[in-house]
Symmetry: C2
Subunit: 230 residues, 2 copies
DNA sequence: TGAATAGTGTCTTTCAGACAATATGCC
DNA sequence: GGCATATTGTCTGAAAGACACTATTCA
């Protein structure tokens, strides 16, 4: 396809200024000690057999975000996953054969989601720790770097952490989420003081027994609507 | 175009999962008392005659950002304009006839740029204050709202203000930029204290005479590379 | 009763925000 | 000399950050 010359004819321009549109999803999740991202093994060329981000084409009757939600639902079976648009990548050098515009979305999987089901059903899927990623198809590594940056900054001024946690959780769980994403330990007293002062959480009148020690109070987010603070 | 059914054939999918790709640019600028955005009068259907955001099609040999830069250069003649990607809008309901994916970019015009030239050369262009915008083509009003939000938040934690100022400026000019964007007056002493403590500025050993009073020291940004603080 | 985590308070420092008087150069 | 803006410092309250001990439950 050659579109480098100036277009004066409207219909010709419409013909040539089209591009393939794909949606990619960065599905982040917290495992015991690290942040993981969902990858699929590509089943056709280019980059066949290599891991890449899950994604697909837009369909003519759905919005970009709806396409992203469909892809996430296909993988997880869940519809209440946190999703936001991340960035749009479009560069003729991404693929020698065609101009692809890829709209990347960013999604969060709660800790209590059973990934085994997903891994079994879609055999080619893996969850890999962010610290040890293989070579990925296309510019998917750039997308992941960008998504991680977004997550790191946005957890500091929004209630986005709810996307990574179960409905009810301990303050300790919440702190672990922050520590894993920020990559550094946090002071327990200061963390709790700050979190509770923000007023985003409400205590659930339940406790959870984890080991042979004092059980912890459970909390939930008052709302999962986007809240900005700081 | 009907793409609502499942695609099993790869080449068919490639045929149908294409969309028209346009780039739109929000070109913000500071005038005496308010923030303005550049609009053009559309010269063909749909929305012919109505004001809308400047934009165009991607060409096959340029990236999305390059397309945005080309559009800005066509309008302004300048290549060193601050640009960043804002958001990508894609929804079949945006246009009944075709699926358009629109990648919106966000750009800043420095205060010393002579807009008269631009308005004269491209007769259909207007700069309108953000507070009094007419009905716009498509969902361009949504894009502007989104861009304004980005500007308001990003001026608080980055050096993005350099895009709206001349190379050299008074601290008073910088303060005006903040006041106009945030829509509220700021305390001069606190503003200067904070700005200088950030270490983003360096004094230029020049003064500027504006009226019959003490001339002000001029400053410039140490770098226009993106800097995040706070 | 011992193991293991839950839960809590003080002090220091830093920063944001309120607030007004003096300095300087031009006309 | 008068006008008009430039430039500067203090005080107060809020929040961040360093830091360690007691409470509770289960096995």
């Amino acid at each position: 396809m050659n579109t480098s010359n100036q277009m004066n004819n409207e219909s010709l321009a419409q013909e040539l200024h089209h591009a393939g549109v794909t949606v990619r999803v960065l599905l982040f999740s917290i495992s015991k000690q690290c942040l993981e991202v969902v990858l699929v093994k590509r089943d056709h060329e280019p980059y066949k057999g290599q891991p890449g981000l899950p994604g697909g084409y837009i369909q003519g009757d759905e919005s970009l975000e709806a396409a992203a939600r469909r892809i996430v639902e296909d993988l997880t079976g869940k519809t209440d996953i946190y999703i936001e648009q991340l960035y749009t990548f479009g560069d003729p050098e991404r693929d020698a054969n065609e101009y692809w515009v890829t709209v990347a979305y960013f999604a969060l999987l709660p800790e209590d989601f059973d990934k085994k089901q997903m891994l079994k059903k879609h055999g080619a899927i893996v969850c890999l720790p962010m610290t040890d990623l293989p070579t990925l198809a296309y510019d998917h590594d750039k997308m992941i770097a960008y998504g991680l940056q977004r997550l790191k900054s946005k957890i500091l001024y929004t209630n986005i952490a709810h996307g990574l946690l179960p409905e009810k959780f301990r303050l300790t769980d919440l702190q672990h989420v922050y520590e894993i994403i920020l990559g550094k330990p946090l002071d327990k007293r200061n963390f709790r003081k700050k979190m509770l002062s923000l007023g985003l959480l409400k205590p659930v009148n339940e406790r959870i027994v984890v080991g042979r020690h004092r059980p912890a109070m459970l909390y939930k987010f008052k709302t999962k609507d986007p809240i900005f603070f700081g």
